[in-house]
Symmetry: C2
Subunit: 457 residues, 2 copies
């Protein structure tokens, strides 16, 4: 009953699909934030649900930690094997099993990435809307309850996962949910697994909602004199019920990064990046409404376009924000934070955060899916500089406290991983212990991604 | 440690707010389906969260069942105290605690009904969209994961409950969720409680999403030669992505009921009742699109109106369907069923069901929130006639099997209660046992609404 025995047994089971080389372990020990590389003891590459079930049975018997791995793009060290054990790389379970065009859903394995699914759907008139920026795996996106730029219109993974196949810690395989749009049949196990970050079960199949491509799409950009003007435009647009598809805020610092990164020359001021989906006339009407609200709030240079190239360029720039930040301080490591507040508190939350950053010795920029009340800061710290890391963690901690004070949450979309563990009790109070009870109930030996989300020992 | 002792202790605790009179017990023993009256041993009327916590502590100590009660409008005997114990009538916890107009949410106690909330919101420009027909309590609606006519556009209780206060079986009080629109912070306890039918905890406070009143609303009605024409209109409209607010199907038998009940003279043919929300022009455009689809599918007499009176009359007629059915067979008891299938299987599901009803000796009518793939039959059986009840149960069972065969669910919105227990294993397989594990974890003494949703003894 030890990790070594588990590794031997997994090697016997999986042959060349179980790897303990330094190179492969190293890749599965990396993370997109400040945690040091933490290689697992081995990496398993399952190719079927039965593989996953057998791996979990062995790991249960040997008390060996199992940490599911998608594409490694999570931002709070969610997939690090901090207690050793194995990384369960789902990348080979990457088949699109069914597209139900008439039912508007897709059945996929967890290793399919969102871009692979959308490429596959290209000629179908359908698309999968959830877009966290990174080309993450759909299994990982479900596990982290990802959202991103289009959640405003289409919801997060919470709303877009219809059904799951899940392998539990003891190797049992269950199916949750169905292809029906809604259900009042029993406990919502689908939503329990979505966002559980691999701590309650391993997702081996997903049924996802698809959307019809809108008849028309237009994108717009608008700059503002002040953060308040931009954020008030967002608040008023949401309150008026304009069915926005995307509504992204970037501050002046972020624009500077975009300019450095892509050689652009946007004025270094707060901007909104917008997208409208609907019929030709609806899209034009929505753009006109928002242009008017923006003008009332000091917006200038409102430009909109239905040209695919213009849109693609805009969102490519936005999606590259992580790299753009690196140009603001060459060689730095952007530490990315994530909070979400009620829309009525958004201006206050962003302004307080900006002031906090301005008072700090390190450079920080703000970007966010503000239509949801969700925003991030990129804190540009020197890799290995303990003092700067401490300042950045302190800034991030104050953002968490701010979110909670304003009735919000410490994570809108990045999840808890390791980075947010210290704030869970403050957010959830006695409900955090209830989460631990559920964890003990479904994973009594604590083998699934131990050390994350809940504290049980 | 017995129910008698619990009753004594509750009497001491609550005084006149604990009632064991036959009249009050009888009211709390009724249900909207065929189950015989099943009075609880007593009825408690808590007025605060602390009352609920104290009641649950006593009932835990005495192993006394506690069955939360809203307005008694559930349709699968969900709130019957089938193992005795007390009915926990939440009706006195009926305060609207806060309306956050700028944040678009409301904080309410569980006894507030949806109509009371909407009356309160009347001059605010906001409304709460979920509309199951009955003027149910919001706590009961959350517990049953209710939906209804507008779920197509605004989602069910799953999407519209942001946060909850819940008292657990042992008296612990927890808060789940926050006022933020989305969160990736820990397990989704809100969604675990929503739809748990009072078996995992008692809801003592809800934070609900509100919607802005759309600029324009229009309603439409259209009749069809055939069920297929009506249902195909629905499927094609959904597939085209028209953002419908309501899309209700009624068959010829249902129309006959409406005519009898409200003295109308609609042609006895399948109809769609529709509603569009949006800007003036969007509403007109949507209506034109659907009119065209309907015409292609044999629709006739498409009429639409933006007059509030016309709309109110249409939806009043629809909401009274339960009473309309009673006019089809005076003195009968309509037994109402509920399944939900993927939209692509809707025509098949409705047609098979209609054929099954036609082959049966009892009268049945079909009505449904078909835009979601969700529909009901009203089976008109004679009260106390065991033979007819057996036939009706058999028809309902075949509907459940049909839903599962087509990738759907045995309940879109009525929940499991007692009526659907026999089909849970068929729908969920080994996941049903996982639900039982969660129940044992959170309510180890099985005092909360025992005998419902899960089977644990």
């Amino acid at each position: 009953m030890c990790i070594e025995t588990a590794l031997d047994r997994l090697r016997n089971l999986l042959g060349s699909r179980f790897v303990t080389s330094d190179a492969v372990r190293s890749i599965h020990g990396r993370n997109e934030t400040w945690y040091p590389e933490t290689p697992p003891d081995g990496v398993a590459f399952p190719e079927s649900t039965e593989d996953v079930a057998q791996i979990l049975r062995i790991c249960s018997e040997e008390r060996c930690p199992v940490v599911p791995w998608g594409t490694g793009t999570s931002l709070e060290a969610n997939a690090l094997a901090v207690r050793g054990g194995i990384s369960l790389d789902m990348g080979r379970m990457d088949r699109i099993l069914a597209i139900h065009s008439e039912g508007l859903d897709a059945v996929v394995q967890p290793g399919v990435t969102r871009e692979a699914l959308n490429t596959h759907l290209r000629d179908s008139g359908l698309f999968f809307p959830v877009d966290p920026g990174a080309n993450a795996s759909l299994g990982g996106m479900a596990a982290t309850r990802a959202s991103g730029t289009t959640a405003l219109r289409y919801g997060t993974m919470r709303e877009n996962v219809l059904a799951l196949e899940v392998v539990l810690a003891d190797g049992r395989v269950i199916r949750t949910g169905s292809r029906a749009r809604k259900s009042a049949s029993g406990y919502d196990l689908t939503r329990l697994i979505v966002g559980s970050e691999g701590t309650l079960g391993v997702i081996t199949e997903l049924t996802l909602r698809l959307q019809g491509q809108p008849e028309a799409i237009s994108a717009a950009i608008c700059r503002f004199d002040s953060i308040r003007g931009a954020v008030d435009t967002v608040i008023q647009t949401i309150q008026m019920g304009v069915p926005m598809a995307r509504m992204e805020f970037v501050d002046d610092r972020t624009v500077r990064g975009f300019n450095f990164h892509s050689g652009g020359s946007m004025p270094e001021a707060p901007h909104l990046f917008l997208e409208f989906h609907g019929s030709e006339s609806a899209v034009a009407e929505q753009a006109a409404t928002v242009a008017e609200i923006a003008a009332d709030n000091g917006g200038a240079g409102f430009e909109w376009s239905t040209r695919t190239e213009d849109r693609a360029a805009l969102w490519k720039m936005r999606h590259n924000v992580h790299y753009a930040y690196q140009t603001l301080r060459p060689g730095c490591m952007p530490m990315t934070t994530d909070i979400c507040v009620p829309i009525s508190r958004l201006a206050e939350a962003v302004l307080e955060t900006r002031a906090d950053l301005d008072a700090s010795p390190i450079t920080g920029a703000i970007v966010g899916h503000v239509g949801d009340g969700n925003f991030h800061t990129g804190l540009l710290i020197e890799r290995g500089n303990a003092e700067e890391l401490a300042i950045a963690k302190d800034l991030a901690g104050r953002m968490n406290a701010r979110a909670l004070r304003m009735g919000g949450t410490i994570s809108g979309e990045h999840g808890i991983g390791l980075g947010k563990m210290d704030y869970m009790e403050a957010e959830h109070g006695p409900a955090w212990e209830v989460m631990a009870q559920l964890k003990r109930c479904l994973d009594p030996l604590n083998i699934l991604n131990p050390g994350k989300v809940v504290r049980i020992d």
